[in-house]
Amino acid sequence: MSEEQSFTLDGRRVPFQAGQTLMAAALAAGVYIPHLCFNREFAPHGSCRVCLVGVNGRMQAACTTPAAAGQIVESETGEIREIRRGILQMLFVEGNHVCPACEKSGACQLQAVAYYVGMLAPHYTHFYPRRPVDASHPEAVIDFNRCILCELCVRASRDVDGKNVFAVQGRGIEAHLVVNTPSGKLGATDFSIHDKAAQVCPTGAILTKHRGYEIPIGQRLYDRKPISVVGDVATLSESKGGRRHD
């Protein structure tokens, strides 16, 4: 047996196995690094940049950086917290996120991570993009205003459900989520509320129809405990206030 390898995360020794990323090793060790586009069931994507950590003094995404023995990794420093807050603020002004009017409020990963990094206001000037809401599907509604382009639904539908319902198209600030049908409507696809793609959204962009406010605001997942303690809404079962189907 080879000796157990480890790196240091905020002064704490974190063991890892060969091939593991910093994020995977930290999760396994029970250390929370905030993230949005990362979901342990999928290959790392590295696009949201929220999981930024200092690796031997250089900023890198924890979800895509391979762990190496002896790395000095910083996560909860004032500087990194400020950068993460800035990234969250960018996501909030890029779309239209009206938390008080959102069914997912209190069980929303975006909102919970924003609280975790100390974001109290969006700070930057809102873009107020005009984006549609698609209620054409009998079981689900898509509110494109809330999409943060994490591509988890894209990956889930393509790689797990085998349906390839979603895609991101366009470049730069024009990049946007689309539904892969000529009409662009979800109702024209074979998407089902039981798909993996319906369970992975870290925001309120994909919602189940006919079910709303079953858990009163104030008693929801992140109303009770912070995300660093209970984890991601997508990985928790519905009975525990998450999105995952039992």
Binding site: C48, E94, L149, Q169, G170, I173, A175, V178, N180
Partner: protein
């Protein structure tokens, strides 16, 4: 619009010509658009069907590249190069004049479908601007008489082949030559050298030469070739990065136009050294005018036994080169995005590591080098590493090509040994009155006159070659604002801090530039810039705030003279918000506008 059957047949022929290979998707879409003027949903579906790839993949590629159109476009598609150097030469006046004369708005297609006029990022003709593209072909030295003629040609619907040749003339403007541009090179000499001395000896020379990536990143070329040669894998590739998209640089265009043999020879040499049989040139779409000549050069080299099967009669030396055209995406200059694009995908930079030397094109070991690097490597193979290392500085051996443009008497290409001072370059090009230099393009460094004794080399001012001069008559902020627009346009949109941050930065710069900013906004720019520098996924986003951050340090007075005296100014423009009400009520009298003092009352004390 083609008839359905004709459309299917056109797409079928194009796909056939490319062997039905999905890696050729971008090339196929370019050619389909050439035939059909735009990529309709029917065309995209037909391409997807013929290639056997999902329609959304084809659509995402079509929507990613600036020169691919998913909406109808005029038969004449005119795009003005909108770099700051084009602006210095008066391109905006010409653009407005052309639009007026043709009766079309900027970025719009005329109702009769004949012409579209818009703008595009720097087309690499900064020494002979104002420049434009018409149906992808470069137009240079635009002036009012040329515009008059273009209006007639467009309205008369005269085919491009009958337009005056001089409109399309691209000159090389080589002003100073050193060891790369100045010495004769006998075609095949580097290939004979590698056959005679063996790949190991050539690699040793390359390492000894100290040659570093001439695209500007400065990675040691010898180490890159060694790493790729040693990487496990039967199939390896050589890729020449001719996606010269950094505004203000055009030296690779000159190399591809006047020294293509030398570049191809360097690639072939690399193929022999690392054990690759296939090379690709990724040529930026703006240099499409070079394509036919380059293909002819490749053919001539095949016939001369310098390319293809059994090079120089050696049955073990097989290497060929294919040219891929880009389609308007600066981010594809990043090597992993370039590889994605070569594979027929949209150009989003990959997660690195792994690096291309082990996992490149089709996940095989790949050397990606800049045009100038390959050309230089060919010379080193013949002349030896010591010959090259003789010039330059301790950490930057040899010479560097600079692309000079902006406010100078003699814009063009200058080859200098590394270590040359900025002042010397300014003297040579006839820039008497320089206020500042944008070095290495918008992603590089902006320096003021206090720093003109700095040296151009990796130890001090690293550069890929762009060198834009601003004289005392210029407003530095015009340049900065232009660059922030450039980065918004060129962000791929993959990661948050670049996708959103570039827009936020543009808006902040615009706010100050138009006289609405305060000291608070300058501090906001610094904070935003710091986040982008460390948090973005690739070099594009990490360097995008550079011109803003540099100019805040180097030209504080340019910013400060625009500031309001108040501590805070809202981004919301109260008077502009009344515009819709004015239009609805048909009012344009003074009472319908907020006066300056009323606006001030509305601001915070």
């Amino acid at each position: 619009m083609a008839e359905p059957d004709a459309l299917i047949q056109t797409v079928h022929d194009i796909v056939q010509r490319h062997g039905g290979m999905p890696t050729r998707l971008l090339q196929i879409l370019r050619e389909a658009q050439d035939s059909l003027t735009w990529l309709s949903p029917e065309t995209l579906d037909a391409v997807a069907g013929k290639l056997g790839v999902s329609p959304d993949k084809v659509r995402s590629v079509a929507e990613f590249y600036s020169f691919l159109y998913t909406a109808p476009r005029g038969s004449y598609d005119i795009l003005f190069s909108d770099n700051i150097t084009d602006r210095m030469l008066g391109n905006r006046e010409l653009l407005h004049a052309l639009c007026d004369r043709l009766g079309v708005g900027i970025g719009e297609t005329r109702a009769d479908g004949v012409v579209t006029v818009g703008t595009t990022s720097c087309t690499g003709m900064c020494d002979q601007g104002p420049a434009a593209l018409v149906n992808g072909y470069a137009l240079t030295r635009l002036d009012p008489p040329r515009l008059d003629r273009i209006v007639e040609l467009v309205n008369g619907q005269i085919p491009l082949t009958q337009w005056p040749r001089e409109f399309f003339e691209v000159v090389s403007n080589i002003r100073r030559a050193d060891i790369l541009l100045g010495r004769h090179f006998a075609d095949g000499a580097a290939l004979r050298a590698v056959l005679k001395r063996g790949p190991e000896a050539i690699l040793e020379e390359l390492v000894k030469s100290g040659l570093r990536g001439q695209g500007g990143a400065g990675f040691r070329s010898g180490a890159k070739w060694v790493s790729c040669r040693n990487a496990p894998g039967e199939v390896k590739y050589v890729v020449c990065n001719a996606d010269e998209g950094e505004p203000g640089t055009f030296k690779d265009r000159v190399l591809m136009q006047d020294f293509a043999d030398l570049v191809f020879e360097g690639m072939t040499l690399c193929g022999r050294v690392i054990g690759a049989r296939q090379g690709f040139v990724y040529l930026r779409g703006e240099y499409r005018y070079l394509l036919d000549a380059l293909k002819a050069t490749l053919q001539r080299r095949r016939e001369a036994g310098l390319l293809g099967a059994a090079i120089l009669g050696d049955p073990t030396f097989n290497f060929d080169i294919d040219i891929h055209l880009g389609a308007g995406a600066y981010v594809c200059g990043e090597e992993s995005a370039l590889i994605e694009s070569l594979e027929g995908k949209h150009g989003v930079p990959r997660i690195r590591p792994p690096f291309p030397t082990t996992h490149g094109y089709l996940n095989q070991p790949t050397v990606v080098n800049n045009v100038e690097t390959f050309a230089t490597a060919a010379k080193i193979a013949v002349e030896g590493g010591a010959w090259f290392a003789n010039r330059g500085t301790a950490e930057s051996k040899g010479t560097k090509l600079l692309s000079l443009s902006g406010d100078c008497k003699r814009p063009g290409i200058y080859e200098y040994p590394f270590g040359v001072t900025v002042r010397r370059v300014l003297d040579d090009c006839g820039a008497r009155d320089a206020q500042g230099i944008q070095m290495a393009g918008p992603a590089g460094h902006m320096i003021s006159a206090k720093q003109f004794d700095r040296r151009i080399c990796f130890e001090d001012l690293a550069t890929g070659g762009s060198f834009m001069v601003f004289d005392q008559s210029r407003d530095i902020l015009d340049g900065i604002r232009n660059f922030t627009h450039f980065f918004v346009h060129e962000s791929c949109g993959f990661c948050t801090p670049c996708r959103v941050g570039t827009s936020l930065m543009r808006d902040l710069v615009t706010k100050v530039h138009t006289g609405h900013g305060t000291r608070y906004d300058l501090e906001e720019m610094r904070k935003l810039g710091r986040i982008m520098r460390v948090a973005c996924h690739c070099g594009l986003g990490q360097t995008a705030p550079n011109p803003v951050l540099d100019s805040l340090d180097q030209f504080p007075e340019s910013w400060e003279r625009r500031l309001r005296s108040t501590a805070f100014e809202p981004a919301f423009d109260l008077d502009a918000a009344l515009e819709q009400a004015r239009q609805l009520t048909g009012r344009s009298d003074p009472g319908a506008y907020l006066r300056e003092e009323e606006l001030m009352l509305g601001t915070m004390p």
